[in-house]
């Protein structure tokens, strides 16, 4: 009880919860990670409160688990060893928008919906992952290196600088923010350990209390194309060619299941129709123009695209699937978070397990083959597998996501999917698929194979978290 009082002293009575309903809610998310309950959930409002919480946790040697979003998909926010969940959603200020220097300073509780709405007023946009949940923290997406739908940049991450409360309670700044004197404070590199070292850490290295995220100027003009393919093998060369010539902005591939899921307004009838009419795979590419002569820019890129299409014999269409206005609809979806109440991944069957990894484009077909073989083995219909392929950095690599849809109320089905998911993940790793962000059960699979990586990671962790209080049990900690 002394602990509870101390928590109340820090954040105030209204911002400490330990009722069963709340604790249950924070014990799980949409992943298969085993549910574990925290002892408390606290809602700090500023950096001072966060710092005090961290110092308190060190005194008590009690775990802290930071969460910036009210929804979780991969288990990172589940308190594996109990402790205190630090819900940062109340720290939700957009502190500063600096259009000139292409950055927006946000607190961790700022959601995608919030930031895109605010920036949209100034014709600005943060490059986002594919259809993030509207309540997902934009800062967390950047911190966890979620791939964005725009492969035209040579720097996948959008996280620039930030302020971290280290697990030892000290304040630290990332990138050039470590030097406080300059007004910019936005360069993503500073002294070692760099910003990079803190990314993908699933909250084990500290609590980010604000970050500068890179924003872009909204295009003035767009032209969206749909390029249909029947086979996965046929996608590869066109993507390489398009990306190596640096054409376009948004560029991604969705299979008919996912695309129908995303586009469908009238569930379920329209969904079935779209699924039937859409090509097996659609490469979606958006050409764009900025402030200056946008139409001319689009024109030369379109011409280059048509050259490639002619050379490789693929079609370039303004519409697919027979859906009117699909271009505009898709464009809107690519530049905004999901806009319906039920998240798109839960529409089809109620829930979904995602397998995602990085590889090179030329290897995509072989991973697909193996996954489908395993699906057959586990009696899981390949028709129920969603596919999303995100080229990265001008085609240098790609992010491959397979969505295993399932009914959460069907226990047998759920178990089947879980087994399929686990075996497929092992197999993908064995084949050389790279799990850059090893959530949940992937952590053991990845770090078991990573040699001295976990040894050095633990040394870093020990240096900043000697009492191992920050989200223990995640990654290799």
């Amino acid at each position: 009880m002394a602990l509870k009082q101390e928590l109340i002293d820090i954040v105030g009575p209204k911002h400490v919860r330990d009722d069963v309903e709340t604790l249950e809610k924070y014990s799980k998310d949409h992943s298969i990670v085993q549910a574990r309950r925290p002892s408390y959930v606290v809602y700090p409002k500023n950096t001072n409160e966060v710092q005090s919480l961290v110092k308190l946790a060190n005194n008590y040697k009690i775990p802290l688990v930071p969460r910036s979003s009210s929804i979780g998909f991969y288990g990172a926010g589940i308190p594996l060893q109990g402790g205190i969940v630090v819900d940062l959603t109340k720290m939700n200020k957009i502190i500063e928008v600096d259009a000139k220097n292409k950055k927006v300073q946000v607190e961790p509780g700022v959601t995608w919906e919030q930031v895109q709405t605010e920036l949209g007023k100034q014709e600005l946009i943060v490059s986002s992952p594919l259809l993030p949940h509207p309540q997902k923290s934009a800062l967390t997406s950047a911190l966890e290196r979620e791939p964005i739908v725009i492969p035209k940049s040579e720097y996948g991450e959008t996280l620039l600088t930030g302020e971290v409360v280290l697990p030892n309670g000290e304040l630290f700044w990332l990138g050039s923010a470590l030097g406080k004197g300059l007004k910019g404070r936005k360069f993503p590199e500073g002294m070692i350990p760099s910003t990079r070292a803190f990314t993908g850490a699933q909250g084990t290295l500290g609590i980010l209390t604000w970050a500068n995220i890179k924003l872009e100027y909204s295009p003035k003009m767009d032209e969206l194309f749909f390029i249909p393919f029947a086979k996965a093998e046929d996608l590869i060369e066109p993507i390489y060619k398009i990306q190596h010539r640096m054409l376009g902005r948004e560029c991604l591939v969705l299979n008919n299941l996912n695309l129908a899921n995303i586009l469908c307004e009238d569930w379920p009838d329209e969904f079935q129709l779209l699924r039937k009419n859409l090509p097996q795979f659609t490469l979606i590419l958006c050409l764009y123009g900025l402030d200056r002569r946008p139409a001319e820019r689009i024109a030369y890129e379109r011409e280059a695209l048509m050259e490639i299409a002619s050379e490789l014999h693929f079609e370039v269409l303004s519409s697919v699937g027979g859906k009117p206005g699909i271009g505009k609809i898709m464009l809107n979806k690519l530049r905004n978070p999901w806009d319906k109440e039920e998240y798109w991944k839960f529409r089809y069957k109620g829930s979904c397990l995602d397998i995602f990894f990085h590889t090179t484009l030329n290897r995509v077909p072989e991973f697909r083959r193996v996954l489908f073989e395993l699906a057959a083995y586990h009696n899981y219909s390949t028709q129920d597998i969603g596919f999303y392929l995100q080229p990265l950095e001008y085609g240098r690599a790609c992010y491959c996501q397979y969505n295993l849809y399932y009914d959460p109320n069907d226990d047998i089905g759920k178990e089947k999917v879980k087994n399929f998911y686990l075996q497929a993940s092992e197999e993908i790793i064995n084949m050389g698929g790279f799990f850059s962000t090893p959530y949940g059960p992937w952590a053991e699979m990845v770090y078991r194979r990573s040699g001295a990586y976990s040894y050095v990671a633990r040394i870093f962790k020990d240096a900043v978290d000697p009492n191992n209080i920050m989200n223990p049990g995640k990654l290799c900690f």
Partner: protein, 529 residues
């Protein structure tokens, strides 16, 4: 320890190294050691340099592992370098220093389709660029010259002349392999999974490469990199650079239908920066730089006399003050060039830019501009006085130089003479399509003790100023963390723990990243050795 003990230990270590590497790959001959005792740096002028005690030529990661394990057995310090422009010279009065000379580790492999190269420490930018260009790719080039080591440059600093497009080096590192100070092998990025290869740099989980490299690297003090994958980028140019003429009067001109250069000046730095903002906003160009007049002068001059003549007649000062340089290229198509040229001209006009005369253009572009793609003349900066000084090198927003440069000018001005005239050297180099920019103030220094002592004073003043104001600059981040850490969130305490865990005997390039001896005594240690 007596002289006899020292001699015996020397012999023991020497024999151990010979057993591991073979006699032809080990030397303790004083003449051989002498050739590793100094570098270009003003610090070396003041200290007189320092000979290591052993030079070894490892041929592989496994060789380095064995050397490191031997070092742990006999507790001798070791270091490694790239091309040797910056030498990890023995410091702190430590004996038995073993320096690894990387000449035998010179393999390069390119994955053309997925645009990356895997390099060992002794592969130069020129070599990689040549192999990449044959395959329609290119690699950024540093302004110290393309004879620099790709691996070392990416891990040390790594600003490249195309960084506006190709980014600053930490963003260009993919998988990497290191020998830790305990002799174990660390693999980062996708390489951490044995089957994945080198193609991706982040993770798994937290990106440990961020522990070894940020703005600057870790100077080999946390581990020795033996293989690095670096990004390559699409190259619309020819398979080899077309040249004309004979050294030092060479031309290198790329075809006008694929590459075009533009140089235009402004009355003030602020206006030049504003123009760069507009160019970046419009996403034009493959190269965008704002060079100071002295850089034009020392790149262009083919001799000291030519430099002196042009400088004292103020040629470059007159014609390239606040000069913005842009190269547009046919990355997507030739029509892209037509579009970009149109838009660029609009921007130049709107922002009040003055395109340089044909004479200035002809004096510069055919002979120098393509150094941006493969730098051949970077080392010319040492011609004017024999040495090179700096007081300012900051990465942040593109407009930060407007506030961060003036204090640097004051410091440099205070020490001029003996610093050599630099006409307010104000380099502004954007990174990542304006994610940020590097601004730099450097100048020639006469390579004598008096001038270098002055440089030392200026460097200390600069670092103290940086720490007080909270600037994060090259000098402050490359000085030992034991001295500067207190001004930057006590970073030195974190790094000391990491260093202690990874390198309990303090053998890997000791004192350079952090002076552990000083930390143990409770002092910060010297700012510069």
């Amino acid at each position: 320890m007596t002289e006899t003990n020292i001699a015996e230990m020397h012999e023991t270590i020497y024999k151990g190294l010979v057993d591991v590497l073979g006699a032809e790959n080990v030397s303790d001959d004083p003449a051989v050691l002498q050739s590793y005792s100094r570098d270009y740096n003003w610090r070396t002028v003041l200290t007189g340099g320092a000979r290591p005690e052993f030079i070894v030529l490892p041929g592989s990661t496994e060789d380095i592992q064995q050397i490191v394990k031997l070092a742990n057995r006999y507790k001798f310090p070791y270091s490694i370098f790239g091309s040797g422009f910056h030498m990890p010279l023995p410091r702190g009065g430590k004996r038995y220093w073993c320096m690894m000379s990387p000449q035998r580790m010179n393999k390069v492999e390119i994955d053309e389709q997925n645009m990356y190269a895997i390099v060992e420490p002794y592969v130069t930018f020129a070599q990689l660029s040549a192999e990449a260009m044959k395959r329609g790719l290119h690699v950024g080039t540093p302004i110290c010259g393309s004879q620099a080591s790709v691996l070392a440059n990416h891990l040390f600093m790594g600003y490249h002349s195309t960084s506006y497009r190709t980014g600053y080096s930490p963003a260009n590192i993919l998988g990497s392999q290191w020998v830790l100070p305990n002799g174990e092998i660390l693999r980062t990025g996708s390489l951490a999974n044995p089957k994945c290869g080198y193609f991706w740099g982040e993770g798994p989980g937290l990106s440990l490469i961020g522990l070894f490299k940020a703005l600057a690297g870790s100077f080999g003090a946390l581990g020795t990199a033996t293989k690095l994958a670096v990004k390559l980028f699409p190259w619309p140019g020819p398979q080899s650079l077309p040249t004309e003429g004979i050294t030092p009067s060479k031309k290198c001109e790329l075809s006008d239908d694929k590459f075009r250069w533009y140089m235009f000046t402004y009355p003030t730095l602020e206006k030049a920066i504003n123009a760069m903002y507009e160019i970046g906003k419009a996403e034009l160009g493959l190269v965008l730089l704002k060079w100071p007049t002295i850089w034009f002068a020392w790149y262009a001059a083919k001799s000291r006399e030519e430099y002196m003549k042009d400088w004292t007649e103020e040629y470059w000062q007159k014609y390239t003050k606040n000069c913005v340089e842009v190269c547009i290229s046919a990355l997507s198509s030739r029509k892209q060039m037509q579009y970009e040229e149109k838009v660029l001209m609009e921007i130049i006009q709107e922002t009040g830019g003055q395109i340089v005369s044909k004479d200035v253009y002809r004096k510069w572009v055919p002979f120098n501009a393509n150094n941006r793609f493969r730098d051949s003349y970077g080392p010319r900066f040492n011609r004017i006085g024999g040495a090179f000084g700096e007081v300012h090198l900051v990465w942040d927003s593109l407009d930060d130089p407007l506030s961060s440069l003036p204090p640097a000018f004051e410091i440099a001005d205070k020490h001029t003479p003996p610093f050599i005239d630099h006409d307010n050297c104000d380099n502004v180099w954007p990174v990542h399509l304006l994610t940020g920019a590097l601004s730099e103030l450097d100048f020639p220094v006469e390579k004598n003790v008096e001038s270098c002592e002055e440089q030392a004073k200026a460097a200390i003043e600069s670092v103290e100023h940086d720490m007080k104001k909270g600037y994060l600059t090259w000098l402050s981040i490359t000085a030992p963390l034991s001295s500067t850490g207190p001004a930057y969130s006590n970073l030195h305490l974190i790094m000391a723990k990491i260093k202690k865990s990874l390198d309990p005997y303090n053998l890997a390039n000791p004192t350079r990243l952090i002076d552990m001896d000083a930390m143990e005594k409770g002092s910060g240690g010297a700012l510069f050795h």
